[in-house]
Subunit: 340 residues, 2 copies
């Protein structure tokens, strides 16, 4: 299991790629698989840990990203003969090593940061086994082995009582619609709690921070798992008014796991994650979002939790990957003789 080394695995707060790698690695270990996790040295795992980077490069500015990324990836491929399959949770760079080994590599595509990186995915489409994290995120030029939605370790999310405030949880960035959440909460007359790491400083300063008053609009910064669980369980709804084709909304299924409905724009994966009228509302704009807040009492919080249990559990995700790994190993598809 090749994790990203931007953050620890699992992440202390933000780090969706590392979170998925952790959930999958731990789930496979529990099922008796022999797993080696390649991640930062401060990672926590029941798998064997192999580390090149002392810590996440987003957390330790002394780390040379290119040096650590390349040594980290090389470490997996230099040991490839020991593994039946390599699970790549770390973007496109590992693919460029993948033709140099006969061990099959299953690559989870966590999204396309730029259309330009598609070139690499296309170059390895013949031997790769690509996993899309939602049907919406499939690129038409690529061949996919499966769509596997992310799953959560549900023991870490407590069904909560709800409350009288709305919640924004995610990166503070125009894509995530933080400013829309503020607008909707105000017009709906409900307090808003904003939690997440600032990914666009200019946006934060101009369109978010001026509205933070400590009572109607509170900003609590980036939060760890315990605080996140508390915030989610105590919210009337998650406002997820995104303005981009989001590959997967981890915060959305985390909200459901806490029994909290989600009000979201149906962009990217969102219509795969939220069932309109049952686990929240899919809304076209801010007006519809304000109206949806008024309809929140019609949502049964138990239905939200139930949705998370049936569709977004770690077990269901591990099932999907386990089945795929077995199939890949059994078929030998994509195997090539060593390069030299």
């Amino acid at each position: 299991m090749l994790a990203s080394i931007a953050h620890r695995t699992p992440p202390r707060s933000y780090g969706p790629w590392e979170q998925v790698a952790s959930t999958l690695a731990e789930g496979l270990v529990v099922r008796g698989h022999d797993v080696t996790l390649f991640a930062t040295a401060d990672s926590l795992t029941g798998a064997r840990l192999h580390a090149v980077a002392p810590a996440g490069y987003e957390e330790d500015p002394t780390i040379d990203v290119k040096v650590c990324e390349s040594l980290h990836i090389a470490a997996v491929f230099e040991r490839a003969a020991q593994f039946d399959v390599i699970s790549n949770q770390f973007d496109f760079l590992p693919l460029t090593y993948s033709r140099l080994t006969s061990t099959p590599v299953v690559t989870t595509i966590h999204g396309f940061s730029s259309e330009r990186i598609v070139r690499v995915y296309r170059a390895y489409d013949d031997i790769a086994h690509y996993v899309s994290i939602s049907d919406a995120n499939r690129h038409p030029a690529l061949t996919y082995a499966a769509t596997i939605h992310h799953g959560l370790d549900l023991t870490r999310f407590t069904p909560g009582p709800g409350g009288d405030h709305l919640l924004f949880l995610g990166r503070i960035h125009p894509d995530k619609g933080t400013h829309l959440a503020i607008d909707v909460a105000r017009r709906a007359g409900m307090p808003l709690v904003i939690a997440g790491v600032v990914h666009d400083e200019t946006y934060f300063r101009s369109l978010v921070e001026p509205h933070v008053d400590g009572s109607l609009v509170r900003y609590v910064g980036s939060v760890g798992p315990a605080e996140r669980d508390r915030l989610l369980g105590g919210a009337a709804a998650l406002l997820h008014l995104i303005d981009f084709e989001e590959p997967f909304g981890l915060a959305v299924v985390e909200a459901l796991a806490a029994g909290t409905p989600v009000i979201a724009t149906p962009r990217g994966s969102l219509s795969e994650l939220v069932r309109d009228g049952t686990t929240g509302f899919l809304v076209a704009d801010a007006d519809e979002a304000v109206a949806a807040v008024g309809r929140l009492p019609t949502i049964d919080r138990r239905a939200c939790r139930h949705e998370a249990e049936t569709r977004f559990s770690a077990d269901r995700m591990v099932d999907g990957y386990e089945r795929l790994f077995h199939g890949v190993v059994a078929s030998g598809r994509g195997r090539r003789p060593p390069a030299a």
Copy 2:
């Protein structure tokens, strides 16, 4: 031959790594070797050209550096079985692929951009064959196969008549002492021509540009091979008053090839390149540099050209690499069975 893809090979103007890769590749081709050059698609070579990047990423901002670098390096290693030896002229990243092939890789270290990249060189020290480009640039933690000074295709450098102006040729950057060259030229009462690409905009604007008057101090920008040859041959001396441990001074040996003496600070490789009193002067500071300008008539320009012919020719460099490549291939040292 794995060239850098920052620029075309050979470069249009700046691009020392690409220049060395070109000189070496063409020299080997002339000697009858079967050479494949991995470089940008607009490169010019008598070798077989394999290109991933359409152009140099420093010249085309639409290029995604990480995408093109990784596909470029992978292209070599995926074909490694076709080659007796891989000549890596492209920094540390290719090393992280090198344990996945049994083809030996000879890596020319063009300098250490940061102490942090030494970690990669150390990690592959057991199988690598490192070439230092000067004795001065050897890192104490690494094992070297040879020191091979850069060489020039001397047919491209015309012994010139000299002239009454001094020349600065290189990147405009504090390391290169552009401001010192201006100071020395003024105090020596000679005009100065500055040629080179601006690598530090703030430095250029504050300490170089204000002195450019179009007559006593002229800035002619980045120059191609023909203009460089003319500038070098028409200069009384090259002022190379560097303020860093320069791994190799390509402009220094280019000046010698044009018959032009060099006034340089004896940092890094410089005392390996300039013979004090014969091909120029090694000076401790600006005062000594001004005095050295007065002593330029004591230097025989033919001795400078002779030095280039005997010590810094392409033939001599190709000899060095050819001997090393033969030795590496014959010994098989560093070969490992394929990884998987």
